[in-house]
Symmetry: C2
Subunit: 202 residues, 2 copies
């Protein structure tokens, strides 16, 4: 494990991203170490040299994702922002920054949440109990948010649902794009927020 951590950071990231992609697209069982090695640009033997076993690598990635997201949240989140749409935008900013660090991270995390293989199922539950990603997302988006600015007849909860779906679809679309396209997509997403704010507020 320390073998891996003493690698240059750039190489670490290449390997992590390859592993995230391989596990994310195929799940724990069906992602073979050969797949991972190929996606990471190293030989299969090196995977074992760095991480010992396939399972150790998998669990390391889960922990890494947790800290990566936490770091970004701690850096960017600002509870002084109470406007509904500004909060949504904040959440989007955080998500985008995470994706720019590790493009396959959302793919991987979603596959981890659905993972059902006996070899890792229990370990996942314990790791996710330590971290608490899902509950954090709720807090970030909606805790202490001011919803009094909405027009009569506009249900904020419905807007929340809409925006949740939108950002799901939006982040689905950008999975696997380069950095430049990513920013363009994000501008369009922000345009949508502006539009919604215009038509939904008093």
């Amino acid at each position: 494990m320390d073998k891996f951590l003493s690698l240059p950071l750039e190489k670490q990231n290449t390997i992590v991203d390859g592993a995230l992609t391989a596990f994310g697209t195929n799940g724990y069982k069906k992602a073979s170490v050969s797949d991972i090695a190929a996606a990471a640009g190293i030989s299969k033997a090196m995977v074992f040299h760095y991480f010992g076993t396939k399972k150790a690598l998998y669990l390391y990635l889960i922990k890494l994702c947790g800290t990566t997201m936490m770091d970004e949240i701690n850096e960017k989140f600002d509870r002084a922002v109470t406007d509904f749409f500004d909060r949504i935008r904040l959440a989007g900013d955080i998500k985008l920054a995470v994706i720019q660090k590790h493009p396959a991270i959302l793919l991987f995390l979603s596959s981890v949440l659905h993972e059902n293989d006996d070899e890792v199922k229990q370990d996942i539950r314990m790791l996710l109990a330590d971290q608490n990603v899902t509950s954090f997302r709720e807090k970030i988006a909606f805790e202490g948010v001011n919803t009094s600015k909405f027009k009569e007849g506009v249900d904020p909860k419905l807007i929340v649902k809409m925006l949740t779906w939108m950002s799901e679809g939006y982040f689905n679309d950008i999975t696997g794009y380069g950095d430049t396209d990513l920013e363009i997509f994000y501008k369009e997403f922000l345009d949508c927020l502006v539009l919604l704010k215009k038509v939904c507020y008093k």
Copy 2:
């Protein structure tokens, strides 16, 4: 092949849905015939008895999805509907009906579009050339639609993008739910359409 087609329709559907799920979640190569058999509730030998080879089953499913979607479109699509939001709803109705017939169909089709295995890549291209699913979706949603009813300053194209993302996220959510939950989710989706119409039209 005729062995399979002479099965009672209910059993055919069970098998098809299992196979769609297995291929859809793992792709052509990584979905083993054992997986498929287990998901379909039959023995591995029966898969070969019915379809001959794994590849033949895969290509049969692609064709089946094509005709299933075409049938639903031909039955429900009405070009006389020109209102923007009514059209979106029409497209949603069609998608929902297809999902109710085969819950894993969208998952499968999306995985087919991304499939990259040499054993089936070329066959997929030829089958998709015959059918033309993607172009149809565009037509259904937007051909001959009246966009003059939007408020000043509301860009219809942006609304389209929003709704595309929304329905992507929405249909992502419902993938793998039972029939009852599905209808509830759909009502919420329709509520969003009503809300958007209210705030975006003159």
